[in-house]
Symmetry: C2
Subunit: 241 residues, 2 copies
DNA sequence: TCAAAAGTGTTCCAGTTACACCCATGA
DNA sequence: TCATGGGTGTAACTGGAACACTTTTGA
């Protein structure tokens, strides 16, 4: 009887295939000025010279994918403990002009205030761009962005990921704007507040907005106790749903 | 001013990294005898000799990931037009004893009747195993299976993917058993039927079960017209949600 | 006192859940 | 006639959607 053939044939056969490079590309989302933004570079490689590109790097030989994504985030933003989740692999044969480079996409959620504090020195050249401005990008990065945004939208509805994007203290209008920016649709204010308050994971901090030319909004923070009870997985990283 | 560094540095630097192999592993789901099953092989490689493994292969140099998955499905089952969706990439450095082999997991949904008709000659050695029996597997394949099953559960609730698993004619109890098998929980019969009938995507075929020692169930088939109207994307392949 | 945005409840509809009995068939 | 699973409806509950006015602040 014929023996079942496995994926894993012979050393030589595999060695013939050890020709690909693996990279990780990160879609680093931030929320600022009521817009959802992505941290980008200007591509310095033909034929994509000047096009916005995602932040990525080749995966080192002794490095897992999650580790590579974490490293890239740290190298580029100076931030540790970033929320990261793998999106999927992109492996079109012609996606990279230099040869076969399979990339694994991750999305990351960071607070732009953390980036401003830690990131500027390391992130020279990196620019926040609104997702609405990102139409043409280098390589297949627009495709990667679209997939990541699609996943983020699903996740945002399922889990309180917005806390990863907002500053420590935030107002309900800010939170609602974040939802509207990510989901690209408007939400009823009263229904939104009802739903958020039922979750019970935010609490008033007893302060108000300052320097606004209208009635200041109350400020809230995440209720860490409730968070640990209901969403402890959000404290781990990377996040597995 | 420092120039922004891209992922894509210099040819030589990338060439130093062209050392990895890329494989695709398929979690091929089938539904038979009221159980959710996965097509597996017995691993022929130490240290996993005899452990169940998924069906996979190395990706060829001129082959995209989706193409590789489709090819593997065809080579192993003889079936074309298989429903396939990428799960994610698995890239632990130590996941393969031969070296750095990044694998991209796909799940596939096939009708076991199609496999029986087309597949046996090609699928020598492949075995259907119930997911409940698959505790230890070769490599990180149990991990891959778990992720795939998790995704399948989400998809099954969102979309009528069950039609990819059932034979052309099926009964409502069969359909409900499929849900219960995949989701691993029992469902109220009346509520289930109410929901299915409201979808409107199945229709009676005017036949009944035969050779059952009790009241025979009516047989149904997918209403192709309604399917095209509401779920045309299910007719494309691979599926992008 | 005005402009601007914050804050606040109720009603309705739809979808989900819980639940128990009769029916058709083969043995 | 019995055993086995197939087939059916209603009532309560829950979550989501629609909707308009008052309040607080700075200018």
């Amino acid at each position: 009887m014929e023996i079942a053939e496995n994926i894993n044939l012979h050393m030589r056969e595999i060695e013939d295939h050890f020709k690909a490079a693996i990279s990780v590309d990160c879609v680093i989302f931030g929320y600022d000025e009521s817009e959802l933004k992505v941290l980008t570079l200007d591509c310095n490689m033909e034929p994509y010279l000047g096009f916005p590109s995602l932040l990525g790097d080749l995966v080192k030989n002794d490095e897992n994918l999650d580790e590579a994504a974490t490293r890239i985030l740290f190298e580029r933003t100076g931030i540790t403990d970033v929320f990261l989740e793998q999106v999927k692999a992109f492996g079109e044969t012609d996606r990279h002009p230099m040869g076969r480079v399979l990339t694994v996409a991750y999305y990351a959620l960071i607070k732009v205030e953390d980036y401003r504090q830690n990131g500027q020195p390391r992130g020279i050249g990196a620019k926040w761009r609104s997702i609405s401005q990102l139409n043409e990008m280098a390589f297949d990065h627009k495709n990667i962005l679209d997939s990541s945004l699609h996943l983020l939208r699903k996740r945002l509805i399922e889990y309180p990921l917005w806390m990863k994007l907002l500053p420590k203290h935030f107002s309900l209008p800010e939170l609602q704007n974040l939802f509207e920016a990510v989901l690209a649709k408007s939400i009823d204010k009263r229904n939104f507040r009802k739903k958020i308050s039922k979750l019970g994971i935010i609490k008033e901090v007893g302060k108000k907005q300052e320097d606004v030319p209208h009635r200041p909004a109350k400020l809230y923070a995440v209720n860490e106790k409730k968070l640990r009870e209901d969403y402890s997985f959000l404290l781990k990283n990377p996040f597995i749903s």
